[in-house]
């Protein structure tokens, strides 16, 4: 038997029973919320298959004054008589792979065009193509860092 005094409800106040009820609900909500956050965090990939730093080959793989599309990494490697640069081959509009046509980069999907320095000439692409940092790996191969941006002027100078 519960003593009468415990069952009495003081007017307007918090009884022990109500307090415990609310506290239990609060704990359940808190635990559920935390579990939910943990579950949601697991959805965002911690690692992706796309490599951000990769070697692309040696200098002689890239003839002077050419743009070479590396399909696997979706970058163009530009070699001129001074050195090597790398520019993204992914259209900044909706991500199609660009083609080198005449003097420009063209997107086959919605017709965006970019000039040699990656600036938009026309089309729906909202921003210029990013240029990536290039350096030499310890084994002497050319290495591209897609997680480090540079300008279109910045080259790996080899001479």
């Amino acid at each position: 038997m519960i003593p009468e005094t415990l069952m009495e409800k003081p007017k307007g106040g918090l009884t022990r029973r109500r307090f415990l009820g609310k506290a239990a609900l609060g704990c359940a909500a808190g635990a559920g919320g935390l579990a939910g956050i943990a579950a949601l965090r697991s959805i965002a990939p911690a690692l992706t298959r796309t490599k951000k730093v990769f070697s692309v080959g040696r200098l002689h793989d890239f003839p002077v004054n050419t743009f070479t599309l590396l399909p696997k990494h979706k970058v163009f490697i530009l070699r001129d008589h001074e050195g090597v640069r790398a520019v993204s081959a992914i259209c900044t509009h909706l991500g199609c792979v660009l083609k080198r046509v005449e003097d420009e980069f063209r997107c086959p999907c919605h017709g965006s065009r970019f000039d040699d320095s990656g600036q938009v000439i026309s089309g729906p692409a909202p921003s210029a193509l990013p240029w990536f940092k290039v350096d030499l790996a310890p084994d002497g191969r050319i290495r591209v860092h897609t997680n480090q941006r540079t300008t279109s002027q910045d080259k790996l100078r080899l001479f």
Partner: protein, 449 residues
């Protein structure tokens, strides 16, 4: 002793109330609800198509393999080796497209009969959610065959999800704060569409989205009962027809008709299967599934405005309708009578004229970016053919509000404008856009590549 002979009142009511499956019906319905012109059977047909999708989907699952290396050949096996496989796949594909079409038609029907009025607000909102889930369900299924069509449609689609980037790019903050890229990663689990995307889409397609739709459907049907059957005018008679067997005959008829159409479509037309996906060679033009081509057309003006601002505004408008419009007397009457008919027709012409006009300008003369070199991107996000159209529709709706003095009719004006705009843009995206998203009147004018 109550009369329990077959055909008696009581036995008819018990037929329904004692059966778990029939129990989603009320024991009696209103004669009006059974008339073809009240509903055109659209909701019921949607339910049946979903059922057919589950049955054919389970059969497809027996052979389909969700891996980058095998998905395509497993679908090919379904088409050319499995007995009846091609027919089952066709049924599944056409039923999926059918659901998208019927879901839009059902939305139109419920809107123009004022079926969101008189306490039916919750069911209207559930309906909007179901439309979105249906679109996602179809979209997630689109990737599974892993052919060129699928691969590039989903690449475009997943980048639409990342279109917040256009804004962060314009503000120069994408490197530090990239919500668009985050959403895209959640969706496809990687930077580009690959095995992760296939795994995620497969999960969404066979468990998460169908289950969500099933639960929403349960609530949807339960609400119809709770709300006292379909919306009808105040002066109509009470529930006067027994569900068993009269309403069930009607439903059977809808099932037969939809099945007949579906089976004929699956017999005569094969679901497309192009060559194996090639991540290096975009389709040109790369088009998302047809029901997103209106949005893709908007996106060709501005990714952020077309992919996020306008769709969000449209859905917000749909959800807000039953909160703003409280003119209950219009419930259950097509176009709310003669005034509504006039408003709808006027809006139809207005929207068609404005939409085609803006498209004409854009196709023939270009837009800000072409007129003034160096227009800042933020300005293009704010002022592009899509946002101009949305603004024109809004102004028209406010004008109708002034003219008729009724929120109801102004909602009708906006709804009609948006819908006509969507249809025209979709038409342009499907038929009039060729390689490089250039405008072509005829497919035969496309340049040979």
């Amino acid at each position: 002793m109550p009369d329990l002979s077959p055909g008696s009142q009581r036995s008819r009511i018990q037929k329904v109330s004692r059966n778990f499956f029939l129990h989603i019906h009320a024991p009696r319905v209103n004669l009006r609800s059974l008339k073809l012109t009240t509903t055109f059977g659209l909701g019921v047909a949607l339910g049946f198509l979903f059922l057919i999708l589950i049955l054919t989907g389970v059969l497809l699952m027996l052979y389909y393999t969700p891996s980058e290396g095998q998905a395509y050949s497993s679908v090919k096996d379904i088409m050319y080796v499995v007995k009846g496989g091609r027919y089952i796949r066709n049924l599944h594909r056409w039923a999926a497209h059918g659901m998208v079409i019927l879901a839009f038609l059902h939305l139109i029907r419920t809107f123009f009969t004022g079926a969101y009025l008189k306490g039916r607000r919750l069911n209207w909102i559930i309906g909007v959610a179901m439309l979105l889930v249906t679109l996602l369900l179809s979209f997630s299924g689109y990737l599974l065959p892993w052919d060129q069509l699928a691969y590039w449609a989903v690449t475009i689609g997943s980048n639409i999800a990342a279109s917040a980037r256009e804004l962060t790019d314009a503000l120069g903050m994408t490197q530090v704060f990239d919500p668009g890229g985050f959403v895209k990663q959640l969706l496809i689990g990687d930077e580009v569409v690959g095995q992760e995307a296939l795994t995620r889409f497969y999960m969404l397609h066979i468990i998460f989205l169908p289950l969500t739709l099933l639960i929403l459907m349960g609530v949807h049907f339960w609400r119809i009962r709770k709300d006292g059957g379909l919306a009808r005018p105040a002066d109509s008679r009470e529930q006067d027809i027994h569900t068993w067997p009269t309403a069930l005959w009607g439903e059977l008829a809808v099932l037969m008709v939809s099945l007949a159409i579906l089976m004929a479509a699956a017999f005569f037309f094969d679901a497309p299967l192009k060559e194996l996906a090639n991540p290096l060679l975009p389709e040109n033009p790369a088009k998302s599934p047809w029901y997103f081509l209106g949005v893709q057309e908007l996106i060709s003006y501005s990714a952020f405005a077309g992919g996020i601002i306008i769709p969000v505004l449209f859905v917000a408008f749909l959800v807000s309708i039953p909160f703003r419009d409280r003119e209950e007397s219009h419930a259950g009457i097509w176009f709310s009578g003669i005034v509504g008919k006039r408003v709808t027709i006027a809006s139809l012409f207005f929207s068609a004229a404005v939409t085609i006009g803006i498209l004409f300008v854009n196709v023939n003369f270009g837009w800000l970016g072409d007129w003034f070199a160096g227009t800042p991107q933020v300005l293009i996000i704010l002022i592009n053919p899509g946002t101009v159209l949305a603004a024109a529709y809004a102004v028209w709706s406010v004008y109708q509000r002034r003219r008729t003095g009724s929120v109801h009719f102004s909602a009708m004006a906006l709804f009609t404008c948006a819908l006509v705009g969507l249809i025209i843009l979709t038409f342009v995206g499907v038929w009039l856009r060729g390689p490089d998203w250039e405008f072509y009147w005829l497919r035969s004018n496309w340049p040979v590549q």
